[in-house]
């Protein structure tokens, strides 16, 4: 499988602060890859290194098979970048902004641009500085989709947006995403869950895991054990069992390596007197919280 983005032991330090500590990441072509993690995990730094906005301290990265340090204008003509904190030429109207950018992209599609403007309900005669935050993100998205990029990179695109605008953005994005790789950083897991195909979890500058969302959802289960009488927690539980707790006659934990056959057998071995064992699927948000807590306690 070829990859749109690869990083090799990527490191970025700001003086003594380690923002990225040796990240190895692969984003398959055509995937919708969500890079999640708590605030300050290094997501934005990773994206800025990938976009050659920041220089890595060590390691390297490739974007569309080009070393990110050598990304040239012709490479950026195939990359769409939308960021919550990007400074835009605010004096421009939406129409002028799109018209100004058009000649720089050989694959710019006027019809697609017009459609995006219509679909995202962009006021073309209004200056960017007079747009709401959501509208600015939409304008940025429209300007980054109109040339059918091979890769779209979105850095926290949903932060601070209301639900309606989020939906419109996602619709606008997904409607044009066929054959395009989307790399998105977010801590809005509820949104990510609805469309991401792959997920990577970055915490304290380290990539804790990176896999398909489907397999991630499959391997995380909240396991609930019911006993006849209150049951204490044994001392040595498997490391994959996160946040074990007991409430009266009920023991709960999150199995991060759930297997439909092996997990019940393993539970029976440690808790032979459990009356009932239930393994419940988890939303992405709960998985994320469990991982965040586990990494803090590690």
């Amino acid at each position: 499988m070829s990859h749109a983005i690869c990083t090799y032991a990527l490191e970025k330090r700001f003086r003594r602060t380690v923002a990225l500590g040796g990240v190895d990441l692969q984003v398959p072509e055509g995937s919708i890859y969500a890079l999640v993690g708590p605030n300050g995990a290094g997501k934005t730094t990773a994206i800025k290194v990938l976009m050659n906005i920041l220089r890595p301290t060590a390691g390297r990265s490739e974007v569309l098979s080009t070393d990110s340090r050598r990304l040239a204008p012709r490479d950026f003509a195939q990359i769409g970048y939308v960021s919550e904190n990007q400074e835009m030429p605010e004096w421009m109207t939406v129409a002028y902004f799109l018209n100004f950018l058009r000649p720089f992209y050989p694959t710019w599609d006027d019809a697609l641009a017009a459609e995006l403007v219509r679909q995202l309900q962009l006021p073309t005669d209004r200056k960017l500085k007079h747009l709401s935050r959501g509208m600015r993100m939409k304008a940025s998205l429209a300007s980054s989709l109109a040339y059918r990029p091979k890769l779209i990179v979105l850095d926290e695109p949903f932060t601070g947006l209301d639900a309606l605008v989020r939906d419109e953005l996602i619709e606008g994005l997904l409607a044009r995403a066929e054959g395009t790789t989307i790399f998105i950083s977010s801590h809005d897991l509820a949104e990510i869950e609805s469309f991401a195909s792959h997920i990577g979890y970055l915490d304290e500058g380290k990539l804790r895991f990176s896999e398909e969302l489907e397999s991630l959802s499959a391997r995380f289960r909240e396991v609930v054990l019911t006993f006849e009488v209150p049951h204490p927690l044994p001392a040595n539980l498997p490391a994959a069992w996160l946040q074990p707790e007991t409430t009266g006659a009920v023991v709960r934990f999150i199995d991060s390596q759930f297997d439909a056959e092996r997990t019940p057998a393993g539970v029976r071995q440690i808790f032979p007197d459990a009356r009932d064992i239930a393994a419940n699927g988890m939303p992405l948000r709960s998985i994320f919280v469990a991982l965040a807590k586990a990494s803090r306690h590690a």
Binding site: L54, F76, A77, N85, Q86, M88, Y96, P103, F104, Y105
Partner: protein, 493 residues
């Protein structure tokens, strides 16, 4: 190039109000230049346009660069298919077409308005364009490239100016101040060296920022540039400028011209009439200058001396601006002016630390840098408020005032000839002679660059301007052994 033009067009659309204001201010200065000559009532108010006309292009350039910011990590163009070469080319094109060229147009308009042909000044207009493009345009390019916004740009600019001033003061303290004093005729060399340094550093900063956005390194380079520019004067000694002028003049000066010899003469007028307020020992050596062809003259620019005492102490003056040959004229005139054959005084200012005993034997070796001047051209200057064009000198006017008559000349772009303002009473010798100074009156925008004037001794009599053009540069040596301080004229505070 197409992409550069697209960015250029975008910048024009964004910045046209500032471009228009800049053009208006340049034109106002040009109108002020013309009004100065014709002494119209609008001249004074238009003079106040000079300061905004200096500041406006600086803000325009800063705003231009910061349309595509180079600092930080948020600028929209970092992730767009913009080549840094195209962005830089667009900015340079803008600066040339909409900042520098309007200045050229304003200066051409001013020349035409005063009745002068721009073609006669084509070389100087071009030189002005180059100068303006380096200082301040490219300098402002570099400053704007390392700052985050207009407020930071203003603060950094002020900080750089203060740092430069401090650096200059340290330089003056550490090095021989004589070297740093005014260079009336050779300032071009020092300016050129400083401009070359400024260009070099600015190019380095722009390359660092545009090619790699190495902001920390670029800011360090800016700090180094501020220090280096204050100290670059070390690399521009006066004598190198003089020597270059000598080589480039292409005129082989006959060795007999301007020979200088020690010549104690009992009837030589008292050199002490020319004592100046200076610390240390002021020394006058009686000399004789000879070999100057009848229709020519020489002007002693500077002198360098080495004085050795019999007990092995030595002092080197360097090329002192105060070391000049003053003519011995009736009344003990101290005028530093073109010399003909005859007696004069070679003077030096010895520092306090090099104290000499009146009777100790000295060995004095001196080099005198001369400018050979062509035949004199004399023009009369009637008393009138209207300025009159005098070739080689500029526009001049003579007004009744205090002293009795005040003459003032201003010259466009080029330096004027060596000119003496002479008042000739109906009978007898001139009652006053005054070398017109070449004070720089430049704002860098208008066409009037050099002004100079002088007072005359009486309202009676004719006022003349005797001007001579420089034609060559040369040096002559003076070597005096076994002389005593008591044999010379000197004064100690």
């Amino acid at each position: 190039m197409r992409d550069a033009l697209l960015i250029f067009r975008k910048d024009v659309r964004r910045l046209w109000p500032l471009v228009a204001l800049n053009g208006f201010l340049f034109d106002s200065v040009a109108a002020g230049d013309v009004a100065t000559i014709f002494n119209t009532k609008t001249a004074v108010p238009l003079l106040f346009m000079q300061l905004p006309a200096i500041l406006c292009p600086l803000f325009l350039i800063a705003a231009l660069i910061q349309q595509e910011k180079l600092t930080g990590d948020r600028a929209y163009w970092f992730t767009r298919p913009f080549s840094w070469r195209n962005v830089l080319a667009a900015k340079l094109l803008f600066a040339v077409v909409l900042v520098s060229l309007p200045l050229l147009m304003a200066q051409v308009t001013a020349l035409l308005g005063t009745g002068l042909s721009p073609f006669a000044y084509a070389g100087m207009l071009l030189r002005e364009q180059v100068r303006f493009f380096i200082v301040p345009v490219i300098e402002i390019f570099a400053l704007a490239a390392v700052t985050r916004g207009m407020v930071e740009f203003i603060w950094v600019t002020l900080l750089c100016m203060v740092a430069q001033l401090i650096g200059l003061l340290i330089f003056l303290t550490v090095f021989n101040p004589a070297e740093a004093q005014d260079w009336p005729r050779f300032e071009w060399f020092r300016s050129a060296v400083l401009a070359a340094f400024a260009l070099l550093f600015a190019a380095a900063i722009l390359l660092l920022q545009y090619a790699g956005r190495r902001t920390t390194l670029a800011r360090a380079t800016l700090a180094a540039a501020v220090i280096a520019l204050a100290w670059a004067r070390v690399l521009a000694p006066w004598h190198v400028g003089f020597d270059l002028a000598r080589r480039w003049s292409g005129y082989a000066v006959d060795p007999v011209i301007g020979q200088v010899s020690y010549s104690p003469h009992p009837n030589l007028m008292h050199g002490g009439a020319c004592w100046f307020e200076r610390p240390g020992t002021f020394l006058f050596i009686p000399i004789d200058v000879k070999g100057i062809p009848e229709n020519l003259a020489v002007f002693s620019e500077r002198t360098a001396a080495r004085i050795e005492t019999s007990d092995g102490r030595a002092w080197n003056s360097g090329w002192q601006a105060v070391g000049q040959i003053l003519p011995s004229s009736p009344g003990g005139s101290c005028l530093h002016k073109p010399l003909s054959n005859g007696p004069g005084w070679l003077n030096f200012n010895l520092p306090r630390r090099f104290r000499l005993q009146p009777t100790e034997r000295l060995h004095i070796r001196a080099s005198v840098a001369f400018t050979l001047l062509g035949p004199v051209q004399t023009a009369t200057l009637p008393i009138s408020t209207h300025m009159r064009w005098i070739s080689g000198v500029g526009f001049c006017a003579a007004l009744v005032g205090e002293p009795p008559v005040v003459a003032e000349c201003i010259a466009p772009l080029e330096e004027r000839a060596y000119t003496v303002l002479r008042t000739q009473p109906p009978v007898g010798p001139p009652c006053s002679e005054d070398l017109l100074s070449n004070s720089v009156m430049s704002s860098g925008i208008g066409i009037w660059r050099f002004s100079g004037g002088g007072g005359t001794c009486a309202t009676q009599g004719q006022i003349y301007l005797d001007s001579r053009q420089p034609i060559a540069y040369f040096e002559r040596e003076l070597d005096i052994s076994g002389i005593r301080l008591a044999d010379l004229e000197y004064q100690r505070p």
